[in-house]
Structures are given as C-alpha cells and as structure tokens.
Symmetry: D3
Subunit: 322 residues, 6 copies
C-alpha cells in the first residue's frame, strides 16, 4: 500500500475525523510520490439559475467517507498502485469571475506542474475554463470528454462572456482543446434556441444527445468515446446533471429524462478505461437541493471510479514494464 | 415569435420576476390570439390519504422557470407556432367539493369558450370531473387519455360520491366521455378489491397496467393510445403518480414500481403526438413531500411537452394549408 | 375475510388511527389463528457508518398505511387466506449488542413457537443474527435468501465480532444456516478488501453481484434463487440498500448503481414464490435520511409482497387439499 | 401506580413500540377506572390556508415518547393519582365537514359519557365545535379557555358557515358556551377587518390580545383566566399558533410576535391550576411545516401539563376527603 | 378602499393565484395613484459566506399570502389610506456586481421618479448601495435606519470594494447619506477586527449594539431612532439577521443572541412611526436555510408593518388637512 | 497574532477549504506553544432516545466557519493571546461503550499531558465520563460546571451502568469531581421519578433548575457559579439541550421551556469569566434534527466564547506579570 492513502475504515470508523475526501491526508504541499490530488474549487458566481455550488466540495467530501478500499467492478484496489492527497480548496474570489479565473489557473497550475493528476470538486461549471487554461499551459491543447445535460457553449449571457453556460465555447476559442478528439455526451432538455446543439457540433465537438445514447446503447457510446479520444491527452469533465434528477437532485439546472447511476457507472468504466488522463473534474453539486445526500454520494462514487481508472493505468504501466 | 410568450432567459435571469408558468404573461382576460392557457386549480379537499395539492400550482410554476425555448426531442420551438398565457388560479372553495365543482366548471368554461386549449395545474384528481363537465358542455363527450397509477373509478368513499378516487366513474356515469376511445395507462399497486381494475374495464375503459406496459414496451403502449383515441377530441389527464416515487416523491398516493422519467417522456411524445387535444391537466403534485423539488420539475417538463405537442399540431396545420 | 386484518380504508381513512403496520390489530399475545406477525426490532447499535435505524419500524409502519387489500400483480387478496397482527416491538437494549441479542432471541422465540411466520422490521442488519438463532432453535439450520448490497461477512470491526457487517459470517460459524441452500443477491459498491466477495463464497454462499444480475437478467436471478433454496425452509432477509439510493435514500450504507423498485418487486415475486418461508426481515431503514419518505414506502410495499407470498402459499395449500 | 399508564422508559427504550400517546395502552373500549382519554381527531378539511393537520395526531404521539413520569414544576407524578389510555382516532370523513361533525360528536360523546376527561389531538380548529356539541350534550354549556392567535369568530368563509375560523361564533350561536366565563388569550397578527377582535368581545368573550398580555404580564393573565372561569365547568382549547413560530413553526396560520414556550408553560400552570375541567384539545399541528419536530414536541409537553393538572385535581380531591 | 390592493382572502382563498406580494396587482407600469411599490431585487453575487438570496423575493412573496387587511397593533387598515402594487423584479445580472448596480439603480430610479415609496425585497445586502444611489439622485442624501447584526462597513473583501459587507462604507464615501441622522441597530457577533464597530462610528453612524439595546430596552432604542432621524427623509434597511436565528434561520450570516420577533415588531412600530420615509428594503432572506418558512413569514410581516406605517402617515396627512 | 490560528476570512472565503473548527490547523501532534485543542469525540452509543451525535463534530465544525477574529462582547481578540489547533477526532468504537471509554481516556490523556486546554465536541453526554477520568488522572478531582436540562445522574438504564444519563453519578462514585465546588444549571422537563433532582443534590451537586434560574435571574445564577467554583480547577460541560428547542432543535432529548441564546451567552460570559479551566466540552448536537443548522451554529458560537474566556485568562496573566 502507498503512503498517501485513506484512513482504514475497519480501524477508524468512517464517520470519524476531519472531512477530507475519502479521509486522504490533507496537505497543501504536494509530496513527490503522489499520483493524484483532490482539489476543491468552491466557486459558484457563474451560476445562471440556482446557486450554491460553493458548498459542493464540502458535501462531496462528507459523503466520500463511505468509500472502502477495493473496486470490485474494475477489480482494482487503487492504493496498491497509486497514492493521493486532498489539497483542500483553491483560492476563489466570490462575486468576481475573471479574478477567480486568474486565481484558480495560477494555483491549479502550481499543483499540476508536479506531474500529478488533479481531480477537482466544483463549484459550478464555469471553473473548468480556468482548469483547462492551466492544463493547456502545461500540455498544450487536450481532448475533452464531457458528461453533461448541456453543451455549455452559449455565446454569452446577459451580455457577458463568462458563466457556467459558456465554458466550452470559450475553451474552443482560446485553443485549449483538441476539438477533433473531444466529445459531449448526455445532452438533453430544452434549449435556448433551435440551433444550440448544432452550434456545439459546429465548434467541432462530437455530440451524443441523451436520446441518441438511449437508442444506441451504453456500449456504443463508450466505444465512441474511446475512438474519439484515442491516444490524446484527455481531460474529463463530469457535470452531475448528466444523471437524472431522481439520482442527482442536488444540482443547478436539472434535466428530467436522464441517465441512471447504473448506466453512468458502466459508461465511465467502459468509455474512459485506459485513456491518457491529464485531469478530471466533477461539477455542479448543489447540496441545498440534495436533502437525502444522494447527489453527493453519487459524486463521491464517480470520483472513486476516476481514481480506480488512474490506478488501472498505473497497474497496466507496471505490468507493461515487466 | 408570438406575442404571448415567456420572458427571455438569456436577458432576464430565470430566477427572476413573478412566478407564472414559464414566466408567461399573467392575464385574467384571455386575449384573442392565444392558443393555450395555463390555469391553476388549487383544490385538495378530494384527497383521501395525504393532502396538500393546493400548493401544487405554486410549486409547478416555481420549477417551470428552468424551461427554455426549444424542444430538441420533438424539434419544435413552441412559441414560433403558438402563444399562451397564465390565467392564474380558478376560484375554489376549500372544504366544499360540490360547491367547488360548480365554481371550477363555470370559470373553466368561461376560459375555454374562447377556443383555447386549457392546461390545468392541480390540485388533486377530483378536479378533473369539473374540467370534463365544462369540456363536455362545449364539445360533447370526449376521449380520455389517463396516465395514472390508479383507475380512480371507485364507486364511493366513506359513503360519499366525490373525491379524487371516484372521478372517472362519475365522468362515465355523467356521459362526459367517449369511453370507447378512452384509455388508462400505468395502473399498479395494491387495490381496494380484487375486481377494481376489471371494474374500470367494465365501465368501458381500455386499461393498460404498469406490468402490462413493461412487458409490451413503450412503443406498443404508444400505439395503443394512438389507435384507441383515433381522431376523437381528446382530454389528457396526467396524474404525477404515474411516475415512480424515485422520480416523483411529491404526490398523494405514491405507488412503487412505476415509470421512469425517460419512459414517461417517450410515451408522451409518441403516444400523444398529433392527437386532437381539447385540454390537459396535470394533478396530484404535493410539494410538502417533494424536498428536492424533482416532482414539480418533472411536472413542469411534462407540461412543456404538452405545449410542444400543441405547437406541433399548429405547425402541421400551417404546413397542411400550404 | 380473516379476523385479524387491517382496518378498511374505504371506511376509516388511511391517515387515521394508531400506526401499527397496515393498521393490523396490536396484540402482545399472539392469538391462535394467526399466520404472520409483524414485529419491530428497533436496534441500531450495530451500525458502523450512519445511525438511526431505531426509528425504522416507526417509519415503515407510518408509510404502510397506504396499503390496500388486493395485490393485482400476484392476484391475491392476502386476508382472504391468512391473518396477521402487529406485535409491536421486541425489547432491545440500546448500546449493548450482546445483551440485546439475548433479549431479541428470547422474545422472538416466544413468538415463533406459536407457529407463525415472523416479519421483522429493523433495525440495522445486526439483528438478523438474533433472529436466526431463534429460528435455528426451532427449526434447525435454514436456507437464507439475502437481498443486499453487502455480504455482511466481515470477520470483525474495530476488534469486535458483532455489528451489522459481520452478521452472516457469525451465522455460518454458529451453524444457523444451510449454506448450500443460501444465496446473496445484489452485492455491489466498494469493498474493504479485494477478497471480500470471495470470502462470502468461501463460506458457502452463492453470491450474485449486482453487475452479474444486470447481465443475466431478473428472470435468471429469480431462477437461481428458486433452485438454490429448493424445498428447504428459508429465511428471507431484505436489506433496503439492495435498492438504488434514488429509490431508497434512507439507509445506512447506500451504494449507487443499484436496483430499481420495479426490478426489486419482480425479483421478489418470481424469486420467492412458493418457497417454504420460516421468517422474513426488512432492515436498514434510516428515516432521518429519507426526506420524501420513499424508502419507508418501498419497505412497506416489499413487506406487502411478503405477506402476499405467504397468502399464496396458504391458498395453494388449501387448493392442494381439495 | 395506576393500571393504565405509560410503559416504563427505563425498561423499554422510549424509541420503542407502537406510537400511542406517551405509550399509553391502546384501547377502543374505555375501561372503568380511567380518568382521561387521549383521542385523535385527524380532520383538516376546515383549513383555509395551509393544510395537513390530519397528520397532527401521529406527530404529537411520536414526539410524546420523550415524556417521563414526574412533573417537577407542578410537583406531581400523574399516574400516582390518575390513569389514562389512548383511544386512537375518532372517525372523520375527509372532505365533508358537516358529516364529520356528526361523526365526531357521536363518537366523542360515547367516550365522555363514561365520565372521563377527553384530551383531543387535532386536527384543525374546526373540530372543537363538534367536541363542544358533545360536551354541551352531557354537561350543558361550559366555560371556554382558548389559547390562540386568532379569535376564530369570523361569520363565514367563501359563503360557508363552517371551517376553522368560525368555530367559536358557531359555538356561541348554538348556546354551547358560558360566554360570561369564557376567555380568549393571545390574539395577534393581522385581521380580516378592523372590528374583528371587537366582534369576539361583542359575542361575550373576554379577549386578551398578545400585546395586552405582554404589557400586563403572565401572572396577571393567569389571574384573569382563574377569575373569569371561576367554578364553572371548563373546556380548554389550545391552538398551537398561540406560540411564536420560532417555537411552533408547524402550524396552519402562524403569527409572528408570539409567546415563548417558557411563558406558555407558566401561563398554563398558573392560569389553569385547579379549574374544573371537562375536556381539553390541542389543535393546528401541521407536521409538514415542522422539520425539526419542535412543534409536536411542544404540543406533547403541553398535554403533559394538562394531564398533570388533572392529576393535581385528583390529588386535591383525595386530600380533601381525608 | 383603494383601487390597487390585495385580493380579498375571505373570497379568494389565500393559497390561491399568482404569488405577488400580498396578492397585490402585478404591474410593470406604475399607475398614478399608487403610494408604494413592492419590487424584488434577486441579486446575491455580493454574498461572502452562504448564498441563495436570489430566491428571497419568491419566498417572501409566497409567505406574504397569509396577511390580512387590518393591523390591530397599529390600529390601521392600510388600504383604506394607501394603495400599492407589486412591480415584479428589477433586472439583475448574476455574477456581475458593478453591472448589476447600474441596472438596479436605473430601473429603481425609473420607479421612484413617480413619487412612490419603494419597498425592495432582497437579495443580499449589497443591493442597498444601488438603491441609495437612485434615492440620492432623486432626493439628495438621506438618513438611514439600519436594522442589522453587522455594520456592513468593511473597507473591502478579497481585494474588492463591492459586496454585501461594504455597502455602507461605500454609501458614506459616495455621499449618499445624512450620516448625522443615520443609525445602525442590533450589531452583534464576532467581528473581523477589534475596531470594526468603532469604524462605523467613525464614519458618522450612531451604532447601538445588541448588547446595548438589551440593556437600555426597546423604548429607549426607539427613542434614539426617532431623535436621530428627526425630520430628515429616511431610508429604512432591514437585514433579517437582525433577528435571532431561532426566529430567522434562513439568512446568510446568522448571529446567535439576537432579537425576538416580538421585540422586533415593537421596535419597528415605535422607532419608525411617523418618520418621513423615502424607501424601505428587507434583505438577506435565504430560503434554502429556512426549512419551516418562518424567516420568510417574518420578513413578510415586517413589510406589513412598513406598509402600515406608510398608511399611518397618509392618514395623519389627511387628518392634518381637515 | 499567534502561529496556530484560523485562516483569514477576508482573504480566504469562509465557505472554503477543509472543515476543521474555525479553520484552525489540523494537527495530530500537538505543538509546544498551543493553548487549546479542539478534539472531536463522535461517540453516540450512549444515547437512550434519539441517536446521531456521531455527526455532531462534523456539523459544529461546518458551522464554525462563520466565526471572525474578535469578540466585542468580551472585548478580546483571542488569537492575540492564545493559539489553538484542531486535533481531529479521538478513536471511538461504535457500539461498545466501555471499550470506547478506555480508548477516549487514553487518547485524551495523551493530549492534555502537554498542558493544553481541551475543548471536546461530542458526541453524546456519555463521553464526559471518559474525559473526566483523564482529567482526574492529570489533575486529581476537579470542579464541574454543567449546563444541562438533565442532571444525568440516573443510577442505571435497562440494567446497565453506562449511557448518557448516568455520567455524573458515575463521576461522583469514581471520585473524579470536587462535588462541593460543582454545580448543575438549567435542569427542567419531566423526570423519571419524583426524587431525581434531589438525588443529584444528595450526590453533592448544587442544582439550579431552569424555573429557579428564571426567577432569580441570570446575574444571580452567574454569581452562584462563580462562588461555587471559586479557585478550584474546573471542567465545563455544556449540553446543548440547556437551550430551548427553538434555539437548538438538533439534540437528543430536547426539553421545552428552556433558555434563549441571549441568556445563554450572558450566563457563560458572566458565570465562567476568570475561572481556572482545565477543559470544556459541548455535547448532544444531533445534526439530523437540525434542518436549519442553528443548533450547530449556536454550538460553534458557545465554543467561541469558551476560547475567548481562555484568551481573557491569558491576557490577565500577562497583565498580572507586568
């Protein structure tokens, strides 16, 4: 087992001690032999409808305590192969999106320069632009896999260029993405205009709507993700509104008719397995709309799958060396 | 775009301004060129188990603010083809069902006489009898499509003829329905007696239970609705308990083992498309049992589909003229 | 109709009168001609993560009031063939698990010695060990059908042998089970170690994980249960975390990616039909995590299915006599 | 100790067993040597604003489990001097107020004819009219002590004579009250008209508004109650909205600026001590608006004080005999 | 009675129809003979701790429906003397405080230029700066009466000049206030620095802390307000966190040890009576933290008192003319 | 300012970063120059009625983020005079009280041996026995100031000696207290027996009931505490049920008629000022019963007062040296 790993739940009861993610060590200085870093970005000034994602990181960390060591579905015990810490939260400036973008990009970059895979807990979806800026600064443009009910490619809102609905048009405009290797999955619900989904496609994204996904099936969608991304470095952004409100009520712009948690896990496991990850985020958890905590619980588990995928890659790398 | 339409959510934030449905104009006098009218009927004296549907219209209006202009699944931008208003609520007399029936019928009739399609927000399911009386007064008997976990055809409760469980036996007895063109879908859960579902069939309804629907599939059920209704004028009544409690906890007599939101939308889109609508209602939303607001959210979206179907008919009519 | 049966909901409104299960008679002395007995076991000292199952029996009883007389899916009106009472709760000693085990076993045995089928409302899953001790005292070892997200076969927690995660390893060690006829269904989520599921299999259980069940289908799983149990006397234990958190948020260690209520009912109806029941329990309902009451509602309905299955057996027995 | 008394909380944990009030015996036939009877009247068709008091009795019973044997403030152990049972609920007919009035009066009368003091759990305040009719049938007109934010003496609502706001004008009109000995305390908040409070005074009631009570003090108000009632037989009706919404949010028409729980208890203890009680009720508990359960908790404790007052009278009677 | 007034609650049940404040007419064009205008300002980008005041106006409007016609404590029936409308909400730009300030000031000014008294529903406390800019544009600097737990005079936050904690230092700097006639009441809780309260005093405000108020009593504080303001035009700003969290949990930075609702009403009635009002606001209602709705209820009632005070002034003006 | 102190809320938004108490440094090894240590003890196996205090430390830490640097009421900026850390939680063994007592005592002793003042976050009130054992091991018997609605001196429950209702009879029996210098304040509510409060007095405690406190006033009670404790080393235990349920609903055995938050703060400030503290705890916070979070908020603020009192002593010590 690695040095930086969760407390043992059979020794220290899971309801006990400070709420870091999965009870990982809380360290503001990233040590050398760390593979991934949990980082909170409690920013929600970019929200256009409901608000409250600033409490998303707290809620996800709180529910993550249920996690145990082994992932039977992927047959991996993550901390046999990789180690991780919880960095705490990045500095944000509530009420000021452009200033926050600068602050997030800078601090996020100071973390990833140490060659770790960041896993960010949002915050609303506007934060991903800052993350991608830092990612592109280190790696150049990367592929994007976006699980989301919305394309988030609206040109502007109320005459402003930045909020949680414009993230990916900005990312394309700024050249942060390998759009030819990027894909959006799960789009559904009403749109601001007839051409909204086509706009995303015109920007270069492959877009699979929820209805298309239901028709073609999880296996096919997973295959499309794998083929689209290929060997490119890839950033995975998971908007919890990808999932149906029955499974994830605690979000900012919930859209009915969505995916179940079972489908979600299957798609993550199959669609992302073996990709060349440079970062993940999970955004749009609004604890005030999550009275039974199931949204945060699901979010924590999705991140558990992300960590498992990182570990699988490490394991594969080790085995390849042999 | 039509004159009577929602506020623009890219200009006026969706969380803003008075809570009419979809932020439609609030008008007590129905203007000439209006196609549909949202009308609240906050009556819940007919409830036999839980209570609180008097707050249903408020909750549905509140959650409807999330709606945007275009329906990608049906490929229609409703307000390009039709216009609508929110009338506010009809006068009810809490505690007095027969007096309320008179009041609802009268005011409802004064609306529909202007040749608009009413979309009522309940209230418990007892209100549909008053609606149907007004509908029949204008159109004669009509077909009924009822999405519901219960047949609501019990002869009486506690020695009384009127409550939310006797609506459709009364409607048949009063000659308000074309029973040969009427259909009930989604019936499930425990019943008061062995013969309850057969009683509904004996009244003339086609009844498709939830178990039958799961076996035969959504496409088949949609086809049955289309065939059953045919060209008849049709009233659509949607009891939110049609949907599983995971998706719609906020209702009066929830029955486990129900439909998902995805199946529900698909069935509405396919089963109702192109029918000759004279009215809709959506009933049995109980906000006090809906802590994450997902029931009202789903209700608002179902009505969005209804409006889209009205627009599709208008569009088809326009295209037919060309 | 039998003597010991629920109040008539068409006469006495379902929201009315003292909250026994299904408004059955509340009797501390089990009468002669009773077939099943509802018994609460409000013990939650065995919980390792969340806590609060001591309020499970109250919540299930409260939501059970919605139940009506007939089960259309199984085509049975239970109280035509069997009668039942609500015994109230068994004496537990909060904070003291071994003392509680003694108390539960003793009082539970005093009930079942009258040849009734007990249906226990938990309480956390630790209580099942006490139930099985009493059952084995009367019948010798029995088969077990366990619906659960977890195997509950961990050797110990924090250095102690008893809590809700060690119940079934203890039951095997104590010789209470016919392990060759026992089966665990629905296992999923993260585990404490790589070998956890294999450990359960090594103890002799057949284990069908959730992922295996999704692949093979409900019909196959139902067949496996039937074949595994065969003619053996069987105890059915239903941990509500078998179901997905969207359908049952109110539980102690929820695991995402679970079964829907529809799948659950179908599996119960097919998998358990005609088995030779000696007892049932339903455990791990935590009302504080169930803001819309849907967990308790589902729990009440699952017990309704159990009662229907008992009645079906009685009916079959009567018909066999003819 | 008397025969009919609560379970011992030091033996049977208070969270355990069937939810009768204070875990008193549940008996539909009132035994001979019983002094008081708890009776639920889950009727809420009379509610003009919020609704849901049908779940009041369940909630009060649930929170009453916290009660222990002795009342230090009044220095009395009630069950040393009196005995009581929980009768369960009286038959109501939801949706039909006049029919319910008949039903309540009849069943309530069948209880009080056995010379017990009834303590009714509402239900909305309309039920008190039915109670008073039965009381007057047995005793002739009686004095009334009404703790309430509202006079409930409006002539009619929406053209109807019966709902929870007209109870006491009807009671006066029907001659059920000794108005010269009757008093209303705690009136506050906005009123339908300028003369509303004067109307109550013109009916004959002494009315002490909240503002007057704050100025004169609890001791003075208690004295006014004692003097007003004198030796007359008295019925005490306690509307929980007497208390401030901070202490009792779970009610139908909450009025800010109300009494604290401390003032309330003091007023009850001093104002009612030694009066000649013929009945009590506690009404307008709406559990859906009581997320922390403090309203039901307070209601249960108020009833604990009522029972203590009954016991004090019994004790005084015994001592007088000596 | 005036033309622009609430619906009659004895005719149209209070739970019925569109949620404007007190069910006043909803008019975007302010008619001539209107005395006060309710206006929502759903802006919450200025919040430094919790967030969600964008839903404040909806919640206050929803709970305001309980209000009736007459105010017995002030002996005034407001709509006999004044008339009012609900304007709906002012345009805000979520995420952009300076742009929102411009928008709010402009639209607010367009309302008050018609010589009406605005009553704004916040929104966080940052909005008051925009209101005061418009007020000063029309009237020049005005007196301020601020009910609040915090002085809101911090120089900056995170390097920015505008948020809900800097409103009144900015207002002084911009010359919007007659500081010699301005007073802050209720300050308490922890402060960012030792000198924080002195800073407010150095800016020119009279500051009465909560502890000082408790010592000197409500009458004295009311007198201080009256004397401080004198004949000056006055703007009243009411931060709901003035009240204790037991009475108003639903706010952004609650401070324990606060005022009761009773004290609050008394202070408003005595402290503000007869002042020369140019505007009111009520801010910092966060519905997501208000599970029993008591915060919004209190807010609605406070506004009812404001309206009553306006009416009293009108009445006094009329009587003076005679 | 000291080295170990909270993050600056004007730089790092208070909703940000890992939830330690007041965002103090999280350190498992207590550094040399630390004055107080926050330590969680998430044990709730000792609860006899409700349960869930294991989540108390998380909730109090979460709400403590609102705290700022200065305490105006006591005129002290704590971190100018003292420094503190958050140790995280002590190891408990859920379900096993005696084993937990050993574990808590040992780990707690390892902290206090470094001459720091511990401030424990419970957990139910059973934990105080373990704390006092460690305290007595270091200091010998100490005085106790207990704020509580209950004496917690019952001899046993269900035949067992340890739970949250027997803590202080055990402490006296074990010789851990200077009973002649110990005092219990706030006792109220129903009791298990007539003599319960006398029993506490017979053990040697001074007991001031809530009713006595209301009569004599806060100043008098504060004086009694000061005189009773005198110069003795004192441990302060604060059961949150001391406060009225309106102010602190989230607790295990709430008793109506309690203290307000204002009275509570005043009593703490006056009654405890200048005492010779060896430790504090705050127990019985049950987050599941605290929907608006006001209980945890109050708890966090009470601890803020405790820290302020520690700082005042340090300041006085420094000044005495000069």
């Amino acid at each position: 087992m690695k040095e930086y790993k969760p407390l043992n739940p059979l020794k220290v009861p899971r309801f006990s001690d400070i709420r870091t993610f999965w009870r990982l060590p809380y360290l503001k200085n990233v040590p050398k032999d760390v593979d991934f870093v949990i980082v909170g970005i409690p920013f929600d000034t970019g929200a256009s409808y409901r608000v409250g994602a600033r409490y998303g990181p707290e809620a996800i960390r709180s529910q993550s305590l249920i996690l145990r060591s082994h992932n039977p579905a992927l047959d991996i015990t993550p901390f046999e192969y990789c180690s991780g810490i919880d960095y705490g939260d990045i500095q944000v400036i509530p009420g000021f999106i452009e200033h926050s973008y600068e602050s997030i990009e800078k601090e996020y970059f100071s973390i990833i320069r140490r060659d770790v895979i960041p896993i960010a807990l949002g915050g609303d979806h506007s934060i991903t632009l800052a993350e991608l800026r830092a990612i592109a600064k280190k790696y150049g443009p990367v592929a994007l896999v976006q699980f989301d009910a919305h394309t988030d490619t609206d040109p502007d809102y109320y005459g402003h260029r930045y909020n949680h609905g414009t993230t990916f048009i900005r990312a394309v405009e700024e050249g942060l993405l390998l759009v030819d290797h990027s894909i959006q999955v799960g789009i559904r619900g009403s749109t601001y205009s007839k051409g909204e989904i086509d706009n995303a496609r015109n920007l270069g994204f492959e877009v699979i709507t929820a209805e298309e996904a239901y028709k073609t099936g999880i296996d096919y969608v997973a295959k499309r993700i794998q083929e689209r991304v290929g060997d490119a470095r890839v950033f995975v952004t998971f908007d919890i509104d990808f999932v149906d409100p029955a499974y994830a009520p605690g979000t900012g712009t919930p859209e009915v008719g969505g995916f179940t948690s079972r489908e979600t896990l299957e798609l993550i496991r199959k669609g992302l397995k073996g990709l060349n990850f440079v970062g993940f985020d999970l955004v749009e958890v609004y604890p005030q709309y999550d009275p039974g905590f199931i949204t945060s619980l699901l979010a924590a588990h999705v991140i558990f799958e992300f960590i498992s995928l990182i570990a699988l890659n490490k394991k594969a790398g080790l085995e390849a060396k042999v």
